[in-house]
């Protein structure tokens, strides 16, 4: 298993990965709480970025409505917890078929009817917006007033109920991100990964090569959706409050795609690098602004917009391919 995982990976890359993992493992012991919170966010976006990357980077289907799956995961787990006392892990088990069904529905509508490219992207936006407005009126989960998880001071960490110190959340997210990374690597190098890439490169040629493009696109959407829903479950139990206006908002969907795009769509390291870069730059920006005593709403978003613009114009494949070339690490598959 280990051999299969590391097949074709250069020693440099493995070394880099190992160092990174070690650093991330000891982080909570060395950094302060504020930085820990920032790191949690990095991992959160890195995780979602990887899930989104499966749909876009591997299979070439642009989704601008991934907030839908985060929201569904969050609300499912939260509702089960608040109304029935069911813990988040079981909640996630329930969220899986819910989000899978949703993704399948969207995928079916789109792919059966030949909705592709920009139209597909707009369809994904429409679904997320539907959810946003719909949940605003969904009283059983709080509606627009919000849905709140009970927070008490815990003396110890409760992993089963996901109640506890930031460090616990950090390790949960780290584990999720690491597992996602492994899953993506396995998928990419397997039969399904080849078929996805063929579809991404040239769907017509893929069909002529015997690939059932409808089925494989559906797989991409469903897997991506289910993976993303875990982030939603995490979100619910970490922040303890949910508002449809926020969690389903199109701004969230755009935020999710920033990291993988800046890092590099289609690569394995891309989403991770992108998340780190963005958060680091954002923190740096915050420090600079704090130093200057400037507090302007919108500056942070403007900054992200400019980053995105620069990357799209200058490094369209993302930062990772450029960095990999510099470090002379060859990712065995793009």
């Amino acid at each position: 298993m280990m051999a299969q995982l590391t097949e074709g990976v250069s020693r440099r890359a493995l070394l880099l990965l190992a160092t990174l993992l070690a650093a991330l493992l000891i982080a909570p012991l060395v950094v302060n709480d504020y930085l820990l919170t920032a790191l949690i966010l990095v991992l959160y976006f890195a995780y979602i970025g990887q899930a989104w990357n499966i749909m876009m980077g591997f299979a070439g289907q642009l989704s601008l409505g991934h907030s839908l799956y985060v929201g569904l995961g969050a609300y499912t787990a939260a509702a089960l917890f608040i109304h029935f006392g069911i813990g988040p892990w079981l909640g996630f088990l329930v969220a899986i078929p819910v989000t899978a069904a949703c993704g399948a529905f969207l995928g079916f509508l789109a792919f059966r009817f030949g909705v592709a490219g920009v139209y597909f992207a707009i369809l994904t936006i429409a679904f997320a917006e539907f959810a946003r407005i719909g949940f605003d009126h969904f009283a059983w989960v709080g509606g627009s007033a919000g849905f709140f998880l009970p927070v008490k001071q815990y003396a110890h960490n409760d992993l089963w109920l996901l109640r506890g110190a930031p460090a616990m959340f950090y390790y949960v997210m780290l584990a999720a991100t690491a597992l996602a990374f492994i899953a993506c690597r396995l998928l990419l190098h397997s039969r399904i990964g080849y078929f996805w890439q063929a579809i991404r490169e040239d769907e017509r040629a893929a069909r002529a090569t015997g690939i059932d493009t409808f089925r494989y696109k559906m797989y991409a959407v469903i897997i991506s959706a289910v993976m993303t829903s875990f982030a939603g479950v995490f979100h619910a139990f970490y922040y303890n409050n949910l508002f449809p206006e926020q969690i389903f908002h199109i701004s969230r969907s755009i935020e999710f795609i920033l990291a993988p795009i800046i890092g590099g769509i289609g690569s394995l390291f891309g989403p991770l690098l992108g998340a780190f870069l963005l958060e680091t730059l954002a923190e740096g920006l915050r420090e600079v602004l704090a130093l200057l005593g400037v507090d302007v709403p919108g500056l942070r978003q403007l900054f992200f917009g400019v980053c995105l613009l620069l990357v799209v114009m200058l490094l369209p494949d993302g930062v990772w391919p450029w960095l990999a070339r510099r470090l002379r690490i060859k990712e065995s598959k793009r």
Binding site: I122, A126, I250, L302, L308, M313, P316
Partner: protein
């Protein structure tokens, strides 16, 4: 950060009473038609851009927001009525659109689709947040002297502002039709849209025509925005909402069809108004999206669009 539709001024929503008098429905429908014509003008700009340059302008609503703020500033500083400022503001937006296309977007025509979207999404984010920084998140509005006037035609009560806005939109749209139909440049642009390679062969300066088209699309949206400030309040967040709406309208009415955009606009305007009356105001968008999904599935070329192979 709220994405709820900005409240309309001058007309209150009907109560959820069972026995709503017929006049209310009629008034709301007419109100929807008028607002819809303005939406149509906005969507027209998008249709023109997509139909010719084939670029998906994700920053469409944001460009409109720029125009709206210009109108607001000119009104509050110099008491200049937006209806009068229609042409100048449209010209400013034309220049902006032209520059955007020629300077930034043109290089992306040959790039993969998703790269184009991302470029425009980036521009949209930049515009929204720059406006947020300059003007802040609070709503701004334009209250002209005739803001609360209305005309009465039988049982029908029509808002003066909406009527003027719709009239201006119709005039602008007609001017655009005429341009495309009767001028050489307009014909050249239509040629580009129909057959890119052919246009090049005949010696048309396609890049210049593209920039011109983007400028025209931006001018449309500038004109639409200028009159829209008479009807709604403007905040920086209004941009993305209208970008989405423009897409729904263009897709519903039909890509490549100018009358289709106006028709789509009216359809959406009426649907929204009626949905707001019959259900709740916040459900308005849901109906627009429901229509979008239905169109995408069953008639992707839209109501008046031509089937693209």
């Amino acid at each position: 950060m709220s994405l709820l539709r900005p409240p309309e001024r001058g007309r209150s929503m009907a109560s959820r009473d069972r026995a709503v008098p017929a006049e209310i429905y009629l008034n709301v429908a007419v109100s929807g038609i008028l607002t819809g014509l303005v939406y149509g003008l906005m969507a027209l700009g998008l249709s023109v851009i997509f139909g010719v340059v084939r670029v998906v302008n994700f920053a469409h609503g944001e460009l409109m927001t720029i125009a709206m703020y210009i109108a607001v500033v000119l009104f509050s500083a110099f008491k200049l009525d937006p209806l009068i400022m229609l042409v100048p503001i449209a010209m400013v937006l034309f220049a902006l659109g032209y520059a955007l296309q020629a300077g930034v977007i043109n290089a992306f025509i040959t790039r993969p689709e998703h790269t184009q979207f991302l470029l425009l999404i980036a521009l949209a984010i930049i515009i929204v947040n720059t406006l947020l920084i300059i003007f802040g998140p609070d709503a701004h509005s334009v209250q002209t002297s005739y803001a609360f006037d209305s005309f009465q035609v039988g049982k029908l009560i029509i808002d003066a502002t909406k009527l003027y806005a719709a009239a201006a939109a119709l005039v602008a749209a007609t001017a655009l039709f005429a341009f495309f139909r009767f001028t050489d440049t307009g014909t050249a642009i239509r040629a580009c849209a129909d057959n890119y390679a052919g246009a090049l062969t005949v010696g048309l300066d396609v890049n210049r025509l593209y920039a011109l088209t983007f400028g025209l699309g931006a001018a449309c949206v500038g004109a639409a925005g200028t009159v829209l400030v008479l009807i709604i309040d403007v905040t920086p967040q209004v941009g993305p909402v209208y970008t989405l709406l423009a897409f729904v309208i263009v897709i519903t009415g039909g890509l490549g069809s100018m009358p289709g955009s106006l028709l789509g606009g009216v359809l959406i305007g009426v649907t929204e108004a009626m949905a707001g009356l019959i259900f709740t105001p916040s459900a308005k968008s849901m109906f627009a999206f429901a229509i979008l999904v239905l169109v995408l599935l069953f008639r992707p070329q839209g109501i008046l669009g031509r089937k693209i192979s």
